[in-house]
Symmetry: C2
């Protein structure tokens, strides 16, 4: 067969799956009937609940650099998806992983797998299937979660008068990413920021706790201002927000000074939760959040109309037109 080429796989799919992704020590769940190894996985969805499904891709050159730690890439490929479940108030169940790598580099795959599974174990997510292909480095994860039927938190539920809150310290992740490019700063207390970028923690517990309290929710992946606009547009509302209230972390303030606020408003990759709460539920929220490991901050209030207005010290504040999302 003249034009046919012989076997040219640069990695043996079965060896990769067996060695790095289907070890018996991985999270087992009784709702997984059939895991990795057949044409498809078989699972049993919990009765009386809705399924929540999200998918996100990380691609080298766009979402991570060629020299990014593989453990971080493994962690983030799952974390960005779990963050989407968190923003719906869902509990995670299962994940699939489609991994594209230029070659079967055992060190890289081992580290990727460690990052992925350390996070998966923490939230009892079972890897039920996937695909490994030879190609440019990248990972697409699809996660499945559940939430009591009809009780998920959409982006579209904010109403005028609701308060808007955010978890954690938005901007830390983009600050960490910038520090990766300026390694001299890492010694001046930037390690926490770099960690916020490389190993974001999905706010799953917080998201679930907000069921029945939050009227609308989104995760901050494109930047606080962008994602606030998306939530409010989906809800058909506007907002008056206090730029002075934006919770800039101490490390960020020390290292980035007057750049801190623009970074906190426009930086992406935070995976914090941005949500709205009816006023009468704010006391309940405050009691609840007092026990959380991350702070929550009230940014302002949802309004009628469609304008998303930030103010600072009594004057209108214009959010700079920057994004730092992609390499």
């Amino acid at each position: 067969v003249a034009a046919a080429r012989g076997r040219r796989r640069s990695l043996d799919e079965f060896a990769v799956i067996e060695r790095f992704f289907s070890r018996p020590a991985r999270t087992r769940r009784t709702d997984v009937v059939l895991g990795i190894g057949d044409d498809a996985a078989v699972t049993r969805a919990p009765a009386g609940k809705d399924l929540v499904i999200a998918t996100d891709t990380l691609v080298e050159g766009t979402h991570f650099t060629a020299d990014a730690p593989a453990r971080s890439v493994g962690h983030r490929s799952l974390a960005v998806n779990l963050s989407d479940l968190a923003a719906m108030g869902a509990e995670p169940l299962w994940a699939t992983l489609a991994l594209s790598v230029p070659e079967a580099d055992a060190d890289w795959l081992g580290e990727f797998s460690r990052g992925f599974f350390a996070l998966a174990r923490r939230y009892r997510v079972a890897l039920i299937g996937g695909d490994t292909v030879a190609g440019p480095a990248g990972a697409t994860v699809t996660v499945h979660g559940c939430v009591a039927a009809g009780r998920f938190v959409p982006r579209s539920g904010a109403r005028p008068g609701d308060a808007m809150y955010v978890t954690g310290h938005p901007g830390d992740a983009v600050a960490g990413r910038l520090l990766l490019d300026r390694s001299r700063f890492a010694r001046r207390g930037g390690a926490a920021l770099i960690r916020a970028f490389l190993y974001p923690e999905p706010r799953l517990r917080e998201g679930r706790a907000l069921l029945g309290i939050a009227s609308a929710m989104i995760d901050v992946s494109d930047g606080l201002h962008d994602d606030a606009r998306k939530l409010l547009a989906a809800s058909g509302c506007g907002a008056d927000l206090d730029a002075g209230a934006v919770p800039v972390s101490g490390a960020m303030r020390r290292l980035f000074r007057e750049e801190s606020l623009p970074l906190a408003l426009t930086g992406g990759d935070d995976y914090e939760l941005l949500f709205t709460v009816p006023r009468k539920l704010e006391p309940r929220l405050q009691r609840l959040a007092a026990r959380w490991c991350c702070p929550i901050t009230r940014l302002g209030e949802v309004t009628t109309g469609k304008a998303v207005r930030w103010h600072l010290g009594g004057r209108a504040f214009r959010v700079p037109n920057l994004t730092f999302r992609h390499f």
Copy 2:
């Protein structure tokens, strides 16, 4: 912010999703509570059924060439996944699509979308979510289907004495792929072969009809011989198979002559179903399959032991060590 770069997205994610992937004319299903547009999709799994979940990636350079018709890439990205559902006996429900493209080429995206949705509509698959990123061309689809609880057909259920069958004409797809490289042959009746490669039809109806009849099933994606070995290894069995029975199509025989049988045994990308049936159910299978649009062919019998033996005209036949899967 010196080191920060401005917005560098080469495609506007929202415009792409809105224009090509979330038009209201797409398949609607009452079990989709919340589709594209929030952090995640929300669905309601059918009661009393198992969920069947598969994910597969196509990458340019590995699974399709840069000059492949985008409509075919869209079709195949869904078809290879639906084929996995077919091999479990499952009925398709929903799909997510993670699409990576180097730039927002409206012609390419339009054709991809047409190929994807033409197939999705045919089998009532709802696109419930996805991601578009700037990167090397590729698509990862995750499909969800259902099957009556505990009744899916695994790879592992073959027993000695069962008969082994295959649908359609394995090898046509790889023959079509080879013809794409030798365009002079296309005029000599190769159009059907090229179509088998570019637009494989997942055997969903056949797969579901085999519930309760097939003891084991796999889809032929890596080549008839390779996939037979996988099914038999999962079942802990061997097989005696008749290479002379392999259903080589007339077009393939005319164009590839003595190369036909090696191609039919080792070519991949067929997406036919290979399955085993207990002998006492063979009459029922024959009655059923008489109404199908694709033929079925009995290849031989499952045996004890682990050897997968092919014979031809009473003599042992050695399958050549070739694969034609990837570019």
